[in-house]
Amino acid sequence: MTVTGPIALRDPVEVAPRRGLLGRSWTRSAGLVLCVVGVGVMVVASIAIGAKSIAPGTVLDAIFAFDASIDDHLIVRELRLPRTAIALVVGAALGLAGGVMQGVTRNPLADPGLLGVNAGASVAVVLGIDVLDVTAPLGYVWFAFGGAAFAGFVVYVLGAMGRGGATPVKLAIAGAAISALLGSITAALLILDAATLDQFRFWSVGSTAGRDVDLTVPLLPFLAVGALLALLSGRALNGLALGEDVARSLGQRVGWVQAVAALSVVLLCGGATAAAGPIAFVGLTVPHVARAVTGPDHRWLLPYSMFLGAILLVAADVVGRIIARPGELEVGIVTAFLGAPVFIAFVRRRKIAEL
């Protein structure tokens, strides 16, 4: 372990540009308003674009002056609106979770997908369907939740062991190892049972289509609590970014902060995975974009991550509908193909690889 590498690189604040694009409070606030506008634009686009294009005017009519006899209104109400809502919620949750995860582990490569959270959720769902005969989607939502939390915990504990604590590379490798292991257990269970395979394979691709909005509603309180905890922990994460020792000497209760942040991540990631299935790379890329805009202050970084995550996921969902017309590409595939190159570019650009 060299003296120069890990200490400098484990810290996202060191890795990121010192100052963001927007330096002052009012420009940041204005930027946030811009983000909200962006979300609105993406929502309209998401409702209007699809296998059947619908004019924006009709979209607004369908929302505010609904007429059940018009097909377009039904499409908007029954199909496009729910999936857009799910994409919004899931994107916001994943973006925010990524921001908190990177802050609390002080690790620029933290992402629920890469750190095994998705694989944990998958195994739990398969076990739920296969062993306990859970057939109602509402039932296996809870398995996803528990599995995600468990896998994330195991990966973090494994990655944090040994010298140097949870360095990016150790965490990434622990996450990949646990993902591979859990994935093989999933595959092993699936080959023994065709019926489970048939149910599971559609769940295992992160998607906003065909998800029942009734499933998402019970998850909302969990997501809301997670988001609240995350947004409130911004100040504490700023302290933590200076290193645990410094944070402690500044009077912060480090263990407490980490526990709250971890809880928020579990609620957000678990809820998002339960609602839309495993979606990787959103939690990884969004906070980096946000950090480029706001700089390393988590009080700004986290709200930006939330809004940008929502924009990214809705946009990815729309892209998936455009490139594979008249069919569509699931949003989880689109984010993987958008996110992996970003991840690789990031690994190449930073000195992180030379830890």
Binding site: G162, K170, L181, L197, I344
Partner: protein, 363 residues
């Protein structure tokens, strides 16, 4: 050929007794051999041979072990069971041995090169490249099983080449190799998931079966290529291990010691990824073997030598016994070998991870 002598140069007696290293001279060539590694290897080879014979003897049609030994050693024919031995059970068992050996060597190379006990070809893009190509072949092309093997090999080679090229930037850093491998793996896994949703249920089942890793129905046409690749890549790996010892000190140190980083890493990656690709193409992505075999081998041999051969033998033994268990545990249902390695491997792996990560340098 000169006489083979065992011994050390004059004055080296204390060194030998304390380190357990023997210097072997054959004519003008001399090399140092770890005595403990030799003993362990011989023991492991016996275990593999035992597993092989046992695996051939049991089945729906049991064959006495004496017949099996007679047939395999050529001392006495086995009469009417000759066909079963030669055409069905022996090639399958040998495929298992060779796949296990290839995975063991490959895992050892990657773990040592990256200096992390969790780095294995399973997670570095080799398996996922093979998996994406194989599932594509099954679901879209509806290919026969030999063609699926070809696709898998091609996919693994392309994935590794892509990862290596992407990791190139003023030479190759081991960590960049790992992280880019993980990124590519995540991407390819989403491709596999996508293909599974587009498949007919029957094809999806076939794909899921392949994704677990199985030795079912592997004949002599698998043994030949596997043996040939081991014969080429294992010596390459052994030659490259000289650099591996230095690489373990870290890239900077290795460069300081005069190791040609790019060339030795290219050789190691080629050997490690090539072996993993061939093994995965033959049996599917059998998890855990490439991760665990090197760790077990290292515990048996100790930290002094790179232990490629012991690791290969441990891999072979694990594979043979896992396949034996997969075949016989739930008769008449025959499980794919990957189910056994995954389920038996999980707790052992967790324990090894905890241990290894605590004592190892994880970066």
């Amino acid at each position: 050929m000169g006489a083979t002598t065992f011994g050390v140069r004059s004055g080296g007696r204390r060194l030998r007794s304390s380190s357990g290293l023997l210097t072997v001279r054959i004519g003008g060539l001399s090399t140092r051999v770890d005595a403990r590694a030799v003993v362990v290897s011989i023991g492991l080879a016996l275990v593999v041979a035992l597993g092989l014979a046992w695996s051939v003897s049991v089945g729906d049609f049991p064959i006495p072990i004496t017949d099996v030994v007679g047939e395999l050693t050529g001392l006495g024919g086995a009469g009417r069971s000759e066909l079963i031995i030669r055409q069905l059970r022996l090639p399958r068992a040998l495929t298992g041995v060779l796949v296990g050996a290839a995975l063991g060597v490959s895992g050892q190379i990657f773990q040592r090169m990256v200096r992390n006990p969790l780095a294995s070809p399973d997670i570095l893009g080799v398996s996922s490249g093979a998996a994406a190509a194989a599932v594509f072949a099954i679901v879209i092309v509806q290919a026969a099983s030999t063609a699926v093997t070809g696709f898998a090999l091609g996919g693994a080679v392309v994935a590794v080449a892509a990862i290596y090229v992407l990791a190139l930037k003023q030479g190759v850093s081991s960590y960049r190799l790992v992280l880019i491998g993980i990124g590519i793996t995540a991407m390819l896994d989403s491709v596999v998931a996508y293909l599974l949703t587009r498949a007919q249920l029957f094809d999806a089942q076939r794909a899921a079966m392949w994704l677990t890793g199985s030795l079912n129905g592997r004949g002599w046409d698998f043994v030949g290529p596997l043996f040939a690749s081991l014969a080429v890549l294992l010596p390459l790996a052994i030659v490259a291990t000289r650099q591996l010892r230095a690489l373990e000190l870290g890239d900077e140190c290795a460069a300081g010691l005069g190791v040609g980083l790019t060339r030795s890493k290219l050789a190691l990656t080629l050997a490690g990824a090539g072996l993993a690709a061939v093994a995965t193409a033959a049996a599917g992505p059998v998890v855990f073997v490439a991760l665990a075999a090197p760790l077990i081998a290292r515990r048996l041999v100790g930290g002094r030598c790179v232990a490629l051969i012991p690791s290969a033998l441990v891999g072979a033994a694990v594979m043979v016994f896992a396949d034996l268990a997969a075949r016989r545990l739930f008769t008449p249902t025959e499980l794919p070998v990957g189910v056994v390695t995954a389920i038996v491997g999980a707790p052992i792996l967790l324990w090894l991870l905890v241990r290894a990560n605590r004592i190892g340098t994880g970066g």
